[in-house]
Symmetry: C2
Subunit: 360 residues, 2 copies
DNA sequence: CTGTTAGCGCATTCAT
DNA sequence: ATGAATGCGCTAACAG
C-alpha cells in the first residue's frame, strides 16, 4: 500500500537505519547520503508512519483538548486556536467534549492516555482530580479556565476576579448603585471568582452588598431568563445587570425583550465573554473580555514547554490572562438612581423614546 | 510504565497469544481462560495499546472530521454530534479546521492518512478532488454538506434546493413579491443550490426574476452588510430578505439596525441554518433549518457502514437531508405589494416609529 | 559515518 | 484450545 522506510532504503541501497537517520535529520549521516535519501524519499512519496514511530518512541503526535462543549463561544475559539497552533507544529488535535460531566471526563481521560497522547489541555470538571494527578505522571497536562483544586497542575486561568471587578466598577462609575449579578455555579472557579470581583467593586464603592441582587446558576440560557425575572421583579429592581454567566446571556436578553425593557435606556447590560454577534447586535453589547484567544495560546505555550524538555514538576505554576473591558452600547450613565427619567429622546429612533437620558 | 499484554500473560501463566485471543474475544479460547484473563487484566489495570495494535492491524481508532471553522453554527453541532457518536463507539475524533482553504485542506488530508485514520468526514473545499479520490482508496471517506464534483465519494448533503425553495415560497405566500436574496458563493454546492431553489419558487409563483435582488458572496458577516445595503438602496427595495448565506446574517441585522428598519414590520427577514440565539433574539428569527444534527448523524452512519464491512465502491450514493421551515417572528404578511401601508402597529412597542416608510 | 541487531506491544500464522 | 514464532514500520543501541 504505502511506501515504507524499507522501500526507500532499498531504492537507495542503504540500510534502513541509515535511511531512518538521514530522514529524521539526526545529523549522524553524511551530508551527501542525507540529501540523496531525502530526494529518493520524496520521489517515492515516502511518508513516515506515525504509528510505527510512535510504538518505538512512545510519542503519538497527538495532543488532546478536552472542553465542555462547543456552544460556549470561548471554547469555540480555544478549539480553533489550539488546533491551529498544533497543526503548525505537526501535531494533531484530538478534540473531546466532556459536557462538564465527571464520568464522561474520566472515561475520556483514560481513553486519551491509552492513545498515548503527547499532551493534554483540559478544562477540568474538578471532580477527577485524583485521576488527573495520576495521569500527569505520564503525560504533560495543562488545565485551562478552571482549576482542579485536588491537583497541582500547571493552570492557565482567566483573571476573573479582575474581570468581574472591572465590569462592576464600570457600571458603578456610570452611576449604578443597584447592579444585578447573574453568575455561574459557585462550585466552579470562575463562578466564585467573578462573584468575588463583583463584591470587591461594590465594597470599594461603599455600596452595601444586597444578596437579592445576586444569582448564581448553571451555564444555560434558562438560568439567565429565570434570574433576570427574579431581578426585574424586585421591589427595587437593579438599574444594571452584569451577566457574568456567559450562557445565561441569551436568557436575559429574551426577558428584557419580552418585557420591552430597552437597553441601555431602561437597563444597562454588561456581559462576560465575547461572542461574534455581540458587536453586531443592537445595541452592541458591552462585555468583559476574558481573552479566550490568549488563554488558549498561553495554554499551548505552557503545554509545549512541558512537552519539550521534560521539565518534570519544576516550576509548576498558575497563570492569569488579564480581562479587558470592552465598552460598546449596552451600558449607559444614570444620574437619578431611580424615580422618573428625564428622558430626552436619543439619536437612536428605533429605540425606546426614553433613550436620551442615557447620555448625560 | 503501563502494563502490557505480556504482563497479563505472565500473571496468568499463559502465552501472550492466548492472552491476546482471550481479551480480544475471538472465541478461540475456552470460556474459562477467557474469563480468567479478563479478570486478571482488570486487576492489573491492563489497557491495550492502540498504537501497537494499530501497527499490526492497520487501524487507529481515529476518525477525522474536517470542517472549515467552528464559527459556523452548523459546524459546531456537527463537531459535537460526530464526536459524541464516535466516542460511544470508542473512536476518537480528530478535529481539523481547514478554513475553506485548498492548501490547508490538502496538507491536512495527507497528515490524516499518515496517521492512519480509520475514516474521514470532510466538508470539501472542492479543490482537492484528485487527492480525495486517491485517498479514498485507502480510507473510507464521506463528504458532508458540500460535494466535490471531481470525486464520486459518498456524500451527505442538505437539501438546499428544497430549503431555499421552501423559504422563498413562504415569503411569497406571505405576500412578498420582491424578495431579496443574499446567498453564498456560486462556486459552492450550497451556494448554487440555494439560488436555484429561490429561482424555482419565484418561477412557480410567476414572479419575474430580478437580478438586482440577488447577491452572492463570501461566507462572512461583511458580505451580509454590503449586500443588505445594496438591496435596501434599490429604487424599489425588497420587502423581504432571504439570507441564505449563514455567516452573512449578522451583517444584515447590523444594517437593518443602523437604518432603523424594524423587523418584521418594515422588512421580513428569513435566515438559513439555525443558531442558538436566533430563537432568543427579538424578534425571534425565522429560519430554514438545514438539519445540521441529522446531517452529521447520517454522515456518521454512512461512514461507519463503509468502515464496517469493506463495502468497496459498491452503492456509493448521495444522500439528502430534508430542510425544514421554522416559522418564528421575523417574517410578516404583507397585503399591499407597495404603496402606503395599512399599517396596523405591531405588538412590538420598542420598535421604531419611523418603521413604515421603509416599506414602500 | 554506516550496517547489524533488537525490540516497542500486539495480532496472527502455523504448529501442536 | 494453546504456544511458539513472525512481523507490522520504525528507532536506537551496538559494533565496526
Amino acid at each position: 500500500m504505502s511506501v515504507t522506510l524499507k522501500d526507500v532504503a532499498q531504492a537507495a541501497r542503504v540500510s534502513v537505519s541509515t535511511a531512518s537517520r538521514a530522514l529524521t535529520g539526526t545529523g549522524l549521516t553524511s551530508e551527501r547520503t542525507q540529501q540523496r535519501l531525502t530526494r529518493i524519499a520524496r520521489e517515492l512519496g515516502y511518508r513516515p508512519n506515525p504509528i510505527a514511530r510512535g510504538l518505538k518512541t512512545g510519542q503519538s503526535r497527538l495532543v488532546a483538548l478536552l472542553v465542555h462543549n462547543l456552544t460556549n463561544a470561548s471554547f469555540q475559539v480555544m478549539a480553533e486556536v489550539v488546533q491551529a497552533r498544533l497543526k503548525a507544529l505537526n501535531y494533531q488535535m484530538l478534540l473531546c467534549i466532556g459536557g462538564d460531566d465527571a464520568q464522561a471526563e474520566s472515561d475520556t481521560l483514560t481513553t486519551l492516555v491509552d492513545h498515548r497522547i503527547d499532551g493534554l489541555i483540559v478544562v477540568p470538571t474538578g471532580k477527577n482530580g485524583a485521576q488527573l494527578k495520576t495521569l500527569a505522571k505520564d503525560v504533560p497536562i495543562v488545565c485551562l479556565v478552571r482549576r482542579d483544586d485536588a491537583t497541582d497542575l500547571e493552570t492557565v486561568l482567566a483573571d476573573d476576579p479582575q474581570g468581574a471587578y472591572l465590569g462592576t466598577r464600570h457600571l458603578i462609575e456610570l452611576g449604578h448603585r443597584r447592579v444585578g449579578l447573574i453568575v455561574g455555579r459557585q462550585d466552579t472557579t470562575s463562578g466564585r471568582e467573578r462573584l468575588s470581583g463583583y463584591v470587591r467593586a461594590l465594597r470599594e464603592a461603599g455600596i452595601a452588598r444586597d444578596d437579592a441582587l445576586i444569582h448564581a446558576g448553571h451555564y444555560v440560557p434558562e438560568t439567565g431568563a429565570s434570574c433576570a425575572r427574579k431581578l426585574l421583579d424586585l421591589p427595587r429592581p437593579p438599574t444594571a445587570i452584569f451577566v457574568a454567566n456567559h450562557e445565561a446571556t441569551l436568557g436575559v436578553l429574551r426577558v428584557t425583550a419580552e418585557r420591552n425593557i430597552a437597553i441601555p435606556d431602561d437597563l444597562s447590560l454588561l456581559c462576560y465573554e465575547d461572542m461574534p454577534w455581540f458587536e453586531w447586535h443592537r445595541p452592541a453589547i458591552s462585555i468583559v473580555d476574558n481573552g479566550a484567544r490568549d488563554l488558549a495560546n498561553l495554554a499551548v505555550d505552557r503545554l509545549l514547554h512541558r512537552m519539550d524538555k521534560d521539565n518534570g514538576n519544576d516550576g509548576v505554576r498558575e497563570y492569569r490572562v488579564g480581562a479587558r473591558l470592552i465598552k460598546r452600547d449596552s451600558c449607559r450613565r444614570i444620574d437619578a438612581p431611580a424615580s422618573a427619567k428625564s428622558g430626552k429622546p436619543k439619536s437612536s429612533p428605533s429605540k425606546s423614546s426614553a433613550a436620551k437620558s442615557a447620555k448625560v
